[in-house]
């Protein structure tokens, strides 16, 4: 193989490395990290401290909970007790199609820099529910919302929903939000009635939200997995690029042999 053929091989190889190797490498790194992590540990999200209590709606109303009836937002004062594993909220809104919004005071960066592997939502309601998790950005003027997890429906009994967090998945959410340093970013857990079972006044939802994360100190954070993969693949691409220059030829010995064979041919022609 001469240098030019090598160059073509490297180009095709680099393209395959980019479109298949890079995401596969990330997936494998996450898999290895999960293996290092062992069994995940769950920590209950403490409502009184963990939920965002700043401005969450366009009119800057400060509250932890909001039930939304169409376009009208109503402040809720749920009954709950953080000393128990299960908490509950009873809807006070008089609407016929309410949503319950929990504001989880964790930013995208918090998750990226942590060993979070998922969010577990245990729910108990007399009606079927749809569960959404949105990442939200407040830039002081308007709210931007990006869907982080969806398509989960729970039946009218105690059910558990898992939002599995992967390094690539959380990075994609940060891409979509693209927050500035001064922006406030958090997550919203939104519960609403599924299909015809709408949430109305007096409906009670029992809930327990918990994060799962690696309990092993030797495992890596999501950011470490992403940055490690970026560095490794960056170096590989850089080396491929250098191998295409005249300054470094990985086929150096072959080049010499080609010269020798060329000399032999010219000698043969002369004779």
């Amino acid at each position: 193989m001469n240098k030019r053929k090598l160059e073509v091989s490297m180009m095709v190889g680099a393209l395959l490395l980019l479109v298949i190797g890079l995401p596969t490498g990330l997936w494998m790194a996450n898999g290895v990290n999960s293996w290092l992590s062992g069994t995940d540990t769950y920590a209950q999200v403490e409502n009184t401290t963990a939920f965002y209590d700043g401005p969450i709606l366009d009119d800057n109303v400060e509250h932890r909970y909001a039930s939304v009836n169409g376009t009208v937002e109503t402040e809720e004062t749920p009954t709950w007790d953080v000393t128990l594993e299960w908490d509950s909220v009873t809807l006070g809104s008089t609407g016929t199609d309410n949503k319950v919004v929990f504001n989880w005071n964790v930013s995208v960066d918090d998750i990226i820099n942590s060993k979070f592997t998922g969010l577990r939502l245990k729910l108990n309601c007399s009606k079927r529910l749809t569960v959404l998790v949105n990442a939200v950005k407040w830039d002081g003027v308007s709210l931007t919302s990006v869907e982080a997890y969806s398509n989960a429906h729970i039946d009218n009994e105690s059910s558990t929903v898992h939002w599995n967090i992967t390094p690539m998945g959380i990075l994609a959410i940060k891409n979509d939000l693209n927050p500035d340093a001064t922006d406030v970013v958090w997550f919203q857990i939104i519960l609403e009635g599924y299909d015809t079972a709408k949430l109305t006044t007096g409906d009670t939802i029992q809930f327990q939200f918990a994060t799962s994360e690696s309990g092993n100190v030797y495992s890596f954070t999501n950011y470490q997995i992403l940055s490690f993969s970026a560095v490794i693949f960056g170096i590989i691409f850089g080396l491929i690029g250098l191998a295409s220059t005249k300054y470094w030829n990985p086929l150096g010995p072959e080049k010499k042999s080609r010269k020798r064979s060329g000399r032999k041919k010219s000698r043969a022609r002369r004779s």
Binding site: R4, V19, L22, L171, A172, N175, A230, G234
Partner: protein, 103 residues
Amino acid sequence: MSALLIGIIATILIFGLGSAFLYSSSTGAVSLFRVGTAGTVGGILGSITMVFTNTWKMLTASLYGHLDFYGWILVGGIAICLIVWGWNAFQDAGKNKPINFVK
């Protein structure tokens, strides 16, 4: 395979499909892998080519600076490849050689 053909394929793969997937992911209900609308050709393609979309998002994140210096190492490595290959093709053209990588 000529440099032009490689360039066209790379451009379609990296920019064409990437833009299409990003556009499709921004409209309607997302599919299983958040690419394209569920049940559409885009959604099915998106599901199959999830790995490619992840590449695009990783590059986007690096360019946004979300991976700090480490992301720029990735971008720099790819840039070195593109600059070297472009320079080689330019040199071939300057020497009046056909821009073919395999003779």
